[in-house]
Every structure is written in structure tokens, then in C-alpha cells.
């Protein structure tokens, strides 16, 4: 059974068609990146999977259920570009928030928060407030929070987009380790070609006006990926392949615009 199933999804915002006839299946344990230029609807697609916005037509299923039911069943965790930590809560209480909403008792919550802090390597920071952490640390708290209730699906909307290159590469490695450890499926929105290739089992290339899928590229690099993966010739071949797919999509877009 697919974890995510998108059938003929179209989304319009007034006159603009953000997404046109999108179909996509994502299997269990996959790491799928959505990449494309601004306005290609990749974040919109992620929000439709999460039932944070509704498609104009078509439907999205998560774990075989309509997206709305999956959201109510807390089948996914989401991470945004900014960590969106609640300033009035400590690190531990931020991570525990979804658990409070799911009515876990205090003892289970405390144990789980400790486990998550270990997972993202932030032991000792539980009573810190968000403003006392660096951007990279905040984003790790945000990931811990998204995974705290063991959702089978993790949705990530450019989670490392605001971080510097060094921190970003380090967090890429950590994310892969967490993905291995948690056994979840990941849908990851990014602008960065190398990030998409490095992390993903499949890269979905999207193009704008109207937002659509122009190519799907399986990334046949061996698992687990390491720092050395980025230096392999195969890595660069995939980077080139994704880049060309992005440009093709872009040119098709220009060609469609040109005659008028």
C-alpha cells in the first residue's frame, strides 16, 4: 500500500493554476524530494498531502485514507522552513506538545521527550527556551517534535532553506540517520539540487505555470549515504540529470509563453 497517493490533483488560487493534474504515489520507507523553481506548487502539494489546504479537484490519500482523516488520525508530522517553535514553551515542552494534544500521560510524555532529545542529539537542552538556541538547533527541535508521536509520514517544507551551507550539510546527514532510525517515509520540499539528490530515493521535478510534475528521477545511489557520497561521480551524474530536467521544464514553460 502506498503511504501517499495523489490522484489528478488540481489547485487554483483565483485565476492562477497552482497545480494541474498531479498524480504521484509514494511507497513506504521512500524519501521523495519535490524540487522546482518558485511558483511550481511544491509547497502547495505538500500542504494538500497534509490537508492544510484542499485541492480544487482530485484527491490525496495518506495510508489509504483521505488526507483529512489522516490528519485527524495524526498520521504525519510536518516541519516548516522556520522552526515555528512556541517561544513560551521550553524545548522539552515544545516536543511534548503533540503528545499533550494526543492525551498521552505525563510519564509517557517525559520518556518520549527524552528519547527524541537523544535522537536529535540535544540532550541537556530540555529546559532551554527556543531563543537560546541556534537556528540549526531550533530546526532539530522542530524535527524531534514532528517525529515525537511516531507518525508514519514526515512532511518537510524546505526545512534547511534558511540555514548556512555547513549547518545544512550536517543536518542532511542527521536527517538521514533519523530517517533510518525512525523507519518513516519522508516527503521533502527543497530548492537545492544537491540536497535533493543526496537525500532522496526519488526526486520529483516540477515546473511552473501551471504547476506540474515534469520528471521523476529515481536516485540509485547506495544506502546508507555518507559524506563521501557527495564526492562520487554517480552523485554528480544525478545532479546533472536533475538540473537538466529542471531546465527542460523551464524551457517548455518559456516556449509555451513565447507565441502569445
Amino acid at each position: 500500500m502506498s503511504v501517499v497517493e495523489i490522484k489528478e490533483v488540481t489547485k487554483r488560487f483565483g485565476e492562477t493554476t497552482a497545480l494541474q493534474g498531479i498524480g504521484l504515489d509514494i511507497e513506504e520507507r521512500e524519501f521523495v524530494s519535490l524540487i522546482g523553481p518558485s511558483g511550481c506548487g511544491k509547497s502547495t502539494l505538500l500542504r494538500i498531502i497534509g490537508d492544510l489546504i484542499q485541492p480544487t479537484s482530485g484527491s490525496a490519500f495518506v495510508n489509504g485514507k483521505p488526507a483529512r482523516q489522516a490528519r485527524i488520525d495524526r498520521d504525519y508530522g510536518i516541519v516548516f522552513q522556520d522552526a515555528v517553535l512556541y517561544d513560551w514553551r521550553t524545548v522539552a515542552k515544545n516536543i511534548a506538545l503533540p503528545l499533550e494534544l494526543a492525551r498521552w500521560d505525563r510519564r509517557r510524555r517525559t520518556a518520549k521527550v527524552k528519547e527524541m532529545l537523544d535522537l536529535v542529539e540535544l540532550e541537556g537542552f530540555e529546559s532551554h527556551h527556543p531563543w537560546q538556541l541556534s537556528g540549526g538547533m531550533q530546526q532539530r527541535v522542530s524535527i524531534a517534535r514532528a517525529l515525537s508521536f511516531d507518525p508514519p509520514l514526515l512532511l518537510m517544507d524546505e526545512p534547511f532553506g534558511a540555514l548556512d551551507e555547513m549547518t545544512r550539510e550536517r543536518l542532511n546527514m542527521e536527517l538521514l540517520r533519523i530517517w533510518e532510525a525512525s523507519g518513516s517515509t519522508v516527503v521533502f520540499v527543497t530548492h537545492s539540487i544537491s540536497e535533493a539528490v543526496f537525500l532522496s530515493t526519488r526526486v520529483v521535478v516540477m515546473s511552473p505555470r501551471p504547476g506540474r510534475i515534469s520528471d521523476v528521477i529515481p536516485i540509485g545511489l547506495p544506502q546508507p549515504r555518507t559524506a563521501l557520497t557527495r564526492e562520487e561521480p554517480r552523485f554528480f551524474e544525478f545532479v546533472t540529470q536533475v538540473r537538466e530536467a529542471l531546465h527542460l521544464g523551464h524551457e517548455a514553460d518559456r516556449a509555451a509563453e513565447a507565441p502569445a
Partner: protein
């Protein structure tokens, strides 16, 4: 990757000095100004033999304050109760209304323009009217004008706080299948607290003004505003000034009390805990 927890500053915690937000030494410049201005006032009124009806000497006001302290205190307490009652009533109601308007936005957009306009009305002008609604001798007449005065700034600030939450923070709660009540309780209200306290602090100042000025239009004999008015009419300027000083002190006390509650509540805000 390992990061030592010591790499980050611990949450600052402290005693009474922290409650008022500063170390004593930080208050020094302000204290110097207070002493300086008072000394200058004293010196000038003595040097130019300024008459009491223009401006009494600070030392004369202080000694009058001390000798009439029991009457002053009982009048001050009477008026302070009016101010406090109106403050609690007006602010409490304002916060409730703000929550309703934030929850049902259509209501909010229908009422907000009037709330903002009402905020600009000199509501104190209605004091003679509330004096006729209730007996001027009754505390209710002053409590009601104070409540109306406090209502609008708290409403406008609270509503701004409740509605200017990062949309991602709300989406995140929705992703956890949280309902509206939980979103208000766990996100909108905590996020609005700094705004609410800003409104409350404006309201503390208005509360004392409302009670005292309300009494100028008629009130019980044992009310601070009435005392100031009658003393000034019979040329007891020192006693009138002593009353004014007490009104100031009570206003400042209410403001400080709210500030202390703010600091205790908003420990998570860097600017209030540092």
C-alpha cells in the same frame, strides 16, 4: 555531533530586583533626575517666593501629606477601589470580547472599526452621564466610567495579539488535529500575552485618571477627587497637592503591580527575563 549545553546562556533567574526588571544601579540615573528636579523645584519656589496657589514647595506638600495622612489614605483607598474595580471589570470584559471577535472574524471586522474609533473618543466626557445613571455617591458610577475607559485599549491590543500569530504556528496545530479551543489555549492566547500586558498597562493609567476625574463631577465626600477639588476651592493648595501626589502614587503602584505580574508571566520573553 555533540554540543555542550554550557555553550548557551542559562535562563536568567533572579530575586526581587529581577521582578522590576533592572538592577538597582540601573535605576540610579532616574533617581538622580527625581532628586534633582525636586531640589530645583524647592530652590526656585523659595528663591522667587512663589505663592502656594501657583506652586507650593515640595517640602510643604510633603509635610502636609504626612500630617493629613490618615484622611488622605482613607480617601485614596476609596478611590483606588473604584479604579481597581473598573480596571478588573473593563479589562476582563475586553479580553473576553477580543477572544470572541478573534474566533469569529466576521464579527471582528464588523466591530473593530468602531472599537478603534471609540478608543479615540474622550470617554471621560461621559463621566457626568454615568453620575446620573448611578448615584454620584455610589462607587458604581466611577467603576463604570473606569471600566469603559479601560475596555477599548485592552480590546484593541488583545485582538491584535490574538490575530497576529504566525500562520505556520496555526497550521502546525491543525496538523496535530487540534481544535479551535486548543489553538486558542495553547497558541493564540500565549502569543497574545505581551500585547495584552501592553493594553493592561495603558489601562492602569486610565483607571486612576477615570476614577479621580469622575469624582470631580460629583462623588462621595470621602473620595480623593472630591477632596482635591474642595481643597483647591477653599484655597488649601498644599492639601490639594498632597491629594494629587497620592493619586499619582496610587496610579504608579497599579502600573508597577501589573508590570510585576507581566514579568512573572512572560519569563520566556528574552527582553523581560534578561
Amino acid at each position: 555531533m555533540t554540543t555542550a549545553p554550557t555553550a548557551v546562556q542559562p535562563v536568567p533567574r533572579g530575586g526581587m530586583a529581577r521582578l522590576v526588571g533592572r538592577r538597582l544601579v540601573d535605576w540610579l540615573p532616574a533617581a538622580v533626575v527625581l532628586v534633582g528636579v525636586t531640589a530645583l523645584w524647592e530652590a526656585l519656589t523659595r528663591a522667587f517666593h512663589v505663592q502656594d496657589f501657583l506652586l507650593p514647595k515640595p517640602s510643604a506638600i510633603a509635610s502636609t501629606f504626612w500630617s493629613t495622612r490618615s484622611e488622605l489614605w482613607s480617601a485614596g483607598w476609596f478611590t483606588f477601589q473604584e479604579a481597581l474595580g473598573g480596571f478588573v471589570l473593563g479589562c476582563g470584559f475586553a479580553i473576553l470580547v477580543a477572544i470572541v471577535l478573534a474566533r469569529w472574524r466576521a464579527l471582528g471586522s464588523a466591530f473593530m472599526p468602531y472599537a478603534i474609533a471609540a478608543n479615540a473618543i474622550p470617554i471621560i466626557a461621559f463621566a457626568p452621564i454615568t453620575n446620573t445613571w448611578f448615584s454620584p455617591l455610589d462607587k458604581s458610577s466611577k467603576i463604570s466610567i473606569v471600566a469603559v475607559l479601560c475596555f477599548f485599549p485592552v480590546l484593541v491590543n488583545t485582538l491584535r495579539g490574538l490575530t497576529s500569530v504566525n500562520p505556520r504556528a496555526i497550521e502546525l496545530m491543525e496538523s496535530y488535529a487540534a481544535g479551535q479551543v486548543q489553538i486558542f489555549r495553547r497558541v493564540r492566547i500565549p502569543a497574545a500575552l505581551p500585547f495584552i500586558f501592553t493594553g493592561l498597562k495603558v489601562a492602569t493609567v486610565l483607571a486612576m485618571i477615570g476614577a479621580v476625574v469622575g469624582e470631580y463631577f460629583g462623588g462621595a465626600l470621602n473620595a480623593l477627587g472630591v477632596q482635591i477639588l474642595t481643597r483647591a476651592r477653599v484655597a488649601d493648595f498644599r492639601e490639594a497637592w498632597a491629594g494629587i501626589v497620592l493619586a499619582c502614587l496610587l496610579g504608579i503602584a497599579l502600573y508597577l503591580a501589573v508590570s510585576v505580574v507581566e514579568r512573572l508571566t512572560l519569563r520566556w520573553v528574552p527582553s523581560t527575563s534578561e
